[in-house]
Symmetry: C2
DNA sequence: CGTAACTTTGACCTAAGTCAAGGCGCGTGG
DNA sequence: CCACGCGCCTTGACTTAGGTCAAAGTTACG
C-alpha cells in the first residue's frame, strides 16, 4: 500500500526543504501510486516517452546514456529523493536510461498532470525549476571533473559527493554509506577504464582514504578525501525540494 | 535604446517557439533594459549573486568554471538566445563565470521578478523549466562526449553542435558560422590540451571536414563530420522557448 | 561443483600531454 | 614608420597517465 505524502519517510530528512500544507495536498493528488522494481530492472529507456514521472523513495539506481560506439556514460547515481523523468516530460522522450541497481520503490506521478501542477501551484513549479537547475549544476561539476581532473582526483571527487549526499539524506553511519554499484559503473561515470579505476581505488584504500566492499563505501575523513579531490571550494549538498 | 520584446530580432528565428501575446506582454514588463559589453568583459562571476538575469541578444561568450588546481572547464559556448543566470537565481549565487568573447548585447531582467513570473505566468514558468532541462540535457551529452569519445570525435562533436545551433539560429551562411573563440577555449571545453586540439583540427582540415580561421568555422558537410563524431543517433537542435 | 559475474594484478601499449621553439599579425610607442 | 612585445597558432621531439590484454582470484548461486 502506498505511503501518504504527508508521512513520506524522506520528507523531514535534513536534506529536504519543508513543504507548505497546501502544496502537500497538491502532491497527494499528483501522486498516482507506488512502484517497486527488482534490482536490474530498467525504469526508463533512452528515447522512450514514459507517461509517468517518478521520485525515488527507496533503493538506488543509475542514469546512463549509451553512445553509438557502444561506450556507456553513467550520468549520475540515483539515490532516494531524486526526481526522474523531468527531461522526458519537458523535452520529448527520455535522453538517458534509468535502471534500478538495488530493489527500488518509486513514487509515481502522472506526466499529464505536470502542466496542471505548474499552472495550479507556482511553488511546486518553482521547485521543479530548482531541481532542473540543480541537476544542471551537478552535471557542470561532473563535466569539469571528467574534463580536468586526474584519475585519483576524479574518484575521490565521486566518493566524496556520494558520501556527502548520503550524510545529508541521513543514511550514513559513521562515514559508512550505501554504494551498491560495480567498479565498472564508477569507471563509466568518470570516463576511466575498469582496470585503472580498480587500481586507483586500491591506492586510496592503502592510503586509508576510502574503502569500498560489498556495496558499502566507507570514507573515514571526508575532508581529507576532498582535499585529494581538489574540491576545497565546493558547497556541501544544500537543502533541496522534494517532489 | 532598448528593443521592444515584440520586435525582438531573435523571436521569429526558426529556433524559437512563438509566444502568446499575453506572455509577450509579461516579458515586456519583466525586461528592465539592455546591456552592451565589450569583448573580454566578465558578465557574471563564479560565486557572485547578480541581481540580474540576461538573455543574450547579440554576440557570443563563454560559460566556464575554474577548479582549485587552476584548470578551467568551458561549460558551454554562449550564442544569441541563451538565457543566463538561472542557476544564480534559483540556487544561491552563480556556479560558473560568463564572459563576453565578442561585443555582446544582453537583455536584462530583474531577478526579483522571477518569482512573480513563475506565479503570474505558468507558461513562462514552464518555459523556464524547459530551458533548465534542456541545458541539463546538453551537459549530459557533453559529459558523455568528454568521458567516452576520442579527441577527433570530441572536436567533431563540438563543431557539429555549433554549426547546427547556428543554422537553427539563422546565422549560418553555406556551412560558414561564427565561432569567435580561441583554440584554448575549445580545448578547455573538451578536456584536451591546446596542442592536441590544434593538431586534431589540422587533421580535420586536411580531410576537408572542417576549417576554422578568423572566427569563422566552416563545415562543408555536417553529416560527414557528424559521422566522424559518432553522433548518428542525435537530435538536431529542437525548437526552444525564448525568454 | 561448475559457471557466471565481479574484482584484482601484472605486462605492455598508445592517445594525448608536456616542453620548447618558431611564426604570424597587430597594436603601441619611440 | 619601424620594431618589439604580446597573444595566438603551429610544429616537432619526447614523456606519461591511463588504456588494453590477459589471466587468475573470489563469491554467489543453481
Amino acid at each position: 500500500m502506498a505511503t501518504d505524502c504527508a508521512n513520506c519517510p524522506l520528507r523531514g530528512r535534513p536534506l529536504f526543504a519543508a513543504l507548505a500544507d497546501k502544496d502537500l495536498a497538491f502532491m497527494r493528488r499528483f501522486k498516482v501510486g507506488e512502484l517497486t522494481v527488482e534490482a536490474g530492472t530498467p525504469i526508463m529507456m533512452e528515447g522512450s516517452n514514459s507517461p509517468q514521472l517518478f521520485t525515488a523513495l527507496r533503493g538506488m539506481g543509475i542514469r546512463a546514456k549509451t553512445l553509438s560506439n557502444g561506450r556507456r556514460q553513467v550520468v549520475n547515481f540515483v539515490y532516494p529523493g531524486d526526481f526522474l523523468g523531468l527531461q522526458s516530460a519537458v523535452m520529448d522522450g527520455m535522453r538517458h536510461t534509468v535502471e534500478a541497481v538495488t530493489r527500488m520503490t518509486l513514487c509515481v506521478f502522472d506526466r499529464k498532470e505536470l502542466w496542471s501542477l505548474v499552472r495550479g501551484n507556482p511553488e511546486l513549479a518553482y521547485d521543479l525549476t530548482w531541481i532542473a537547475a540543480t541537476e544542471e549544476h551537478f552535471l557542470g561539476e561532473a563535466l569539469a571533473t571528467v574534463g580536468q581532473r586526474t584519475a585519483v582526483e576524479r574518484i575521490a571527487w565521486a566518493l566524496v559527493r556520494v558520501t556527502r549526499r548520503c550524510e545529508a539524506l541521513g543514511i550514513a553511519d559513521a562515514g559508512r554509506v550505501p554504494f551498491p554499484f560495480r567498479q565498472q559503473d564508477l569507471a563509466d561515470a568518470l570516463g576511466l577504464s575498469l582496470v585503472h579505476t580498480n587500481k586507483t581505488l586500491a591506492r586510496l584504500r592503502e592510503r586509508q582514504l576510502a574503502s569500498w566492499h560489498d556495496g558499502i563505501l566507507s570514507v573515514p575523513e571526508t575532508e581529507k578525501l576532498a582535499r585529494v579531490a581538489g574540491m576545497e571550494g565546493e558547497d556541501p549538498a544544500e537543502r533541496r525540494p522534494l517532489i
